[in-house]
């Protein structure tokens, strides 16, 4: 099932949070919905799910707005940020209530808890859950109806590295089964290893949409006393280069290993070979012109934009 967003627009208090947004989400792939905090991701997802009414435009699943789906619970599962749980209700009861409303067998609650690794805490009150456990419970709720489409808003928030690895594997299996998944995040380093396609937005507008493999390559910084010779060799392969210092180049379009191999073949001495940044991150800064553009951090958890959390 496809998600289609067309000309979606929403203003809060005169400020356009989502502005003429158009994109599609294909099945059988993990699609990352990326943008800095405040870019309009959560508002877009809430419009897709019928919780926020668009000012104009449409968002459909399988050709229909959410409220007109014949059986939303079995079609699309969603785990949204700022989703609440009654603190006095147990995790299992939270899901059991949803089973009652949807008419699912109560066993689905236990199966979903098992899937997300929350079976042990199932009979404890949600008030005592950690952020990561709440994320898992929200995901379990999304999975209850065994839906075709999964929409996850910042699912890795509060998950430990083990949880994130698990999520990655889970979403991979999901997409490989031909189902649709749209997962939002402002954490690029995480998403890069998670998604096949990206939809990038900034200030409510589409910046880039397409397969991750087609993203413009990252840059590699190379130091060499024979910079000019290296430059000639590199450009012969079609890579683009830029001389930053007499003994330094930045190379676009070739990975480090290829550059090293080429230098070795031409007997060119190298002093340094450094990938400049995560591809997605570079791309993001290039496309949005946001941040300092230094791209210096490739470590875990480097976010984009320093704005406050959207959606309050």
């Amino acid at each position: 099932m496809k998600i289609q967003v067309r000309g979606l627009t929403k203003a809060f208090g005169g400020r356009r949070v989502v502005d003429g947004l158009t994109f599609e989400v294909e099945p059988a792939a993990v699609t990352g919905f990326l943008g800095p905090n405040g870019a309009g991701k959560t508002t877009t997802l809430r419009m897709l799910l019928g919780l926020v009414a668009p000012d104009s435009g449409s968002a459909t699943v399988d050709g229909r707005p959410y409220a007109e789906l014949p059986d939303p619970g079995r079609t699309i599962g969603a785990a949204l940020e700022a989703t609440g749980f009654h603190p006095a209700r147990t995790g299992r009861d939270h899901l059991a209530v949803l089973c009652t409303v949807h008419g699912f067998d109560r066993r689905r609650a236990d199966e979903a808890l098992e899937t997300v690794g929350l079976a042990e805490a199932a009979r404890r009150r949600v008030g005592g859950y950690s952020q990561g456990m709440r994320q898992r419970l929200a995901l379990a709720a999304a999975l209850l109806g065994d839906p075709e489409v999964l929409v996850l808003d910042e699912p890795s928030n509060g998950l430990d590295p083990e949880g994130i690895a698990w999520l990655r594997q889970f979403l991979r299996t999901w997409a490989d089964a031909g189902r649709t998944v749209l997962v939002s995040s402002h954490l690029l380093s995480e998403m890069e290893q998670l998604v096949d396609r990206v939809v990038i937005i900034d200030r409510g507008r589409l910046v880039h949409a397409g397969p991750l493999a087609h993203l413009p390559g990252g840059q590699v910084s190379v130091h060499s006393p024979q910079a000019e010779a290296l430059r000639t060799a590199l450009e012969a392969t079609g890579a683009r280069t830029h001389r930053t210092r007499p003994d330094a180049l930045t190379v676009t379009g070739l990975p480090c290993a290829e550059i090293g191999r080429l230098a070795h073949r031409h007997r060119i001495e190298l002093h340094e070979l450094t990938p400049e940044s995560g591809d997605l991150e570079t791309l993001f800064f290039t496309l949005t012109g946001g941040g300092s553009g230094s791209g210096s951090g490739t470590g875990n958890g480097i976010g984009i934009g320093a704005g406050s959390r959207e959606g309050k």
Binding site: R46, L51, A53, G73, T83, V97, L98, V101, G103
Partner: protein, 259 residues
């Protein structure tokens, strides 16, 4: 492809209610309040200058059973209000409206569920009055028959009154959305504003249309000098308040963006 039936949504609301303890505390509190009212009324009934009719008369016994409405009605309304506003306070509205995108149906299910809970409160409250009155009056040598002296009519009035108060609580919650504001509004209205309004002689022509006097109309009993209407008129008024709040709430408040 089936649509969620309303009965499934009502069952969902019951399921939500009974997976937390709040209902139990409010039920116990309202039964305790009912027991207190009934006990006071019986204990002071034979003093001179008492303001209630003697308990060996039909009006006296009807008054005794009518205290169940006073004891359970307000707290049943508070429970309904908390049940509705809790969706916004705990941000469970997101999950609820994801499961049921038709918000009017969610409101309808809550009205039905909490009206039923109100009816149950009323029945249990009447049970408490009975359990206190039967032995106590018999010890005083007063005969009490639950099927005589118009008591069935009073009991029906109590049932209708508490059921409709729950409807008002749920409707007001849908309109205001804010839990504290709704509960405070209910309590301040019932215990402060209404007694003042009904005590002002100049307002007497209007104050009989207020919820409290409408409840008195249903039981045809009041412990004040307040005038009240016919039972059917009181019932219609209370239903009207509840449904009007719920309708305005659905259109203005519940339909708003859930962010």
């Amino acid at each position: 492809m089936e649509r969620q039936s309303l009965s499934r949504l009502v069952r969902g609301e019951f399921h939500k209610l009974f997976t937390t303890r709040l209902w139990l505390w409010l039920l116990l509190a309202s039964l305790a309040l009912t027991a207190l009212y009934a006990s006071l009324l019986i204990a002071f009934s034979d003093g001179s200058g008492t303001w209630t009719p003697p308990l060996d008369t039909a009006p006296g016994q009807q008054t005794l059973f009518a205290v169940a409405a006073g004891g359970t009605g307000t707290l049943a309304a508070v429970l309904a209000a908390i049940g509705v506003t809790g969706e916004f306070r705990h941000r469970t509205a997101t999950v609820t409206f994801l499961a049921t995108p038709h918000r009017g149906r969610v409101v309808t299910a809550k009205l039905l569920a909490y009206a039923s809970v109100g009816a149950a409160f009323a029945v249990l409250g009447l049970g408490v009055v009975t359990a206190i009155a039967l032995p106590w009056l018999s010890a005083k040598g007063i005969g009490l028959s639950l099927t005589a002296h118009g008591i069935p009519g009073t009991a029906l009035g109590v049932l209708a009154s508490v059921t409709l108060f729950s409807l008002i609580g749920a409707g007001l919650g849908a309109l205001l959305r804010d839990q504290v504001a709704t509960v405070v509004a209910l309590l301040v209205y019932r215990f402060v504003a209404e007694p003042i309004l009904t005590g002002v002689p100049a307002l007497e022509a209007f104050s009989r249309y207020l919820p409290g006097p409408s409840s008195s109309a249903l039981t045809q009993i009041t412990l004040t000098t307040q005038e009240f209407l016919q039972p059917w008129a009181g019932g219609l008024l209370l239903t009207g308040y509840g449904l009007t709040f719920a309708l305005l709430g659905t259109v203005w408040s519940v339909r708003r963006d859930i962010t």
